[in-house]
């Protein structure tokens, strides 16, 4: 079993009283709570903090934890033999092998709701809910996609002990999901014991696309055109999610002007599609040949166009 230093996680002394532990927890929870925090790895950090507090706020669990002895975080250890005698008999079952058990799973079984229960008649525990974030590409939400979600679930095994098992769930994300959307997969969380199975919640996040930017169900594409294409008009090919299409750049176009390709955006869940907007960008060659320079000079001489007329 791997040791976790719960005192260090909360940043308190081993002698800290309940009030100091609560204060430390509140401060860290405010900083890392995934619902309010923008800190990097907030979710991971908050899980550690919550786990540490769960154990240290409960006098019985804290005592059991303290009496396991002190080790380095991550160090492999076994509780001393008298620990097993003292705590396991009052716990929810005897573990033949503590080796691959999670420290928190072991301590959770003490003093809490599982006491006395051994998975027998009348024992009820709903399955745990899970929340995961799926990072999907624009193409994937356009088509719909099947994703594999790896879960580490804590379940009661047949001999009445808690076991952490790796499970993988295949989930179909229907087409038309949007950035930030939440989806629910009923019954795909942890298995319940006499209670309902837990649910799986999927938080959709779109990965940035090389070409398209997503706004709701609409897509935006930067469309670079040469000055003469903007001036004279042109028919150009643009990429869409389903291959290239041709669009007309009208004569006399300005930078920033949007050309709409109707229905070439992302599908909407209820049917229909968003649009694709090609935003014109007028680009000039960074290196000009002598001939090009000469033609520009001629244009300069021939034109009466004053782009800054409104400054006068």
């Amino acid at each position: 079993m791997k040791y976790k230093d719960y005192y260090k996680t909360l940043g308190v002394e081993r002698s800290a009283d309940a009030e100091a532990i609560k204060k430390a927890y509140r401060r860290l929870a405010r900083k890392y709570h995934p619902d309010v925090s923008k800190e990097k790895d907030a979710e991971e950090k908050f899980k550690e903090v919550a786990e540490a507090y769960e154990v240290l706020k409960d006098a019985e669990k804290r005592k059991a934890y303290d009496e396991m002895g002190f080790y380095q975080p991550g160090q492999d250890f076994r509780p001393p033999p008298d620990w097993e005698r003292q705590f396991q008999s009052g716990g929810f079952g005897h573990f033949e092998d503590l080796g691959d058990l999670d420290l928190f799973d072991l301590l959770s079984g003490l003093g809490g709701g599982l006491r006395g229960g051994r998975g027998g008649a009348g024992f009820r525990m709903p399955g745990q809910d899970y929340e995961v974030t799926a990072h999907l590409s624009v193409e994937e939400v356009a088509r719909g996609v099947e994703i594999e979600v790896p879960l580490s679930v804590t379940e009661l095994s047949e001999d009445g002990t808690l076991r952490r098992t790796a499970r993988s769930v295949t989930v179909r994300i229907p087409k038309g999901a949007t950035d930030g959307q939440r989806l629910r997969v009923p019954g795909k969380g942890g298995r319940g014991q006499g209670g309902r199975d837990g649910d799986l919640y999927v938080n959709v996040q779109l990965r940035p696309h090389d070409l398209f930017r997503v706004s709701g169900h609409d897509l935006y594409l930067e469309l670079p055109v040469a000055p003469w294409e903007a001036a004279l008009g042109a028919e150009v090919q643009i990429p869409t999610l389903e291959g290239r299409i041709s669009v007309k750049v009208p004569a006399g176009s300005r930078a920033g002007q949007k050309l709409r390709a109707r229905g070439k955006g992302l599908p909407r869940p209820g049917g229909g599609e968003g649009d694709l907007y090609a935003v014109l960008q007028i680009v000039t060659p960074s290196v000009l040949s002598e001939r090009e320079k000469q033609l520009y000079r001629e244009l300069q001489k021939a034109s009466t166009f004053d782009p800054r007329a409104h400054f006068e």
Binding site: R26, A29, R30, H33, D35, V36, A50, D129, E131, V169, T170, V171, R172, I173, P174, A177, D179, G180, Q181, R182, L183, R184, V185, P186, G187, K188, R196, D199, Y201, V202, R213, V214, S215, G216, D218, Y220, E222, G256, P269, Y277, V279, Q281
Partner: protein
């Protein structure tokens, strides 16, 4: 509407859930949900809106499950009273709306 078992269901406005399902999915008690309705966090549709006695007939937009789960976590992790919880939830909602607007505007900006 029937879904295959492993199909992810979008938690949308137009899908409705009953009080009992909202409670089960969010981890909030029915009483807590009724209190949050009184604070205006949840707005049930259907018969008897506004009278707690008819709470069993209330229907909630499935999107409320997301808010409800956030509420349940915040209550548990911060020991918040309902008034504080309602305030935090309305601020989170405002932040999410603003972040959505920023994303929409960013998509329309030229990268330059």
């Amino acid at each position: 509407m029937t879904w295959p078992l492993d199909e992810a269901l979008p938690l949308e406005e137009h899908v409705l859930v009953a009080l009992e399902e909202l409670a089960q999915a969010s981890g909030l008690s029915a009483q807590e949900i009724i209190e949050l309705v009184e604070y205006g966090v949840f707005e049930p549709v259907g018969a008897g809106v506004g009278s707690a006695g008819e709470a069993q007939a209330w229907r909630f937009a499935a999107r409320c499950i997301v808010t409800g789960r956030t509420a349940s976590r915040l209550r548990k992790d911060f020991d918040l009273p309902t008034s504080g919880l309602a305030l935090v939830l309305s601020l989170i909602e405002r932040i999410e709306t603003l972040e959505r607007q920023v994303r929409v505007l960013e998509a329309q900006l030229l990268r330059g």
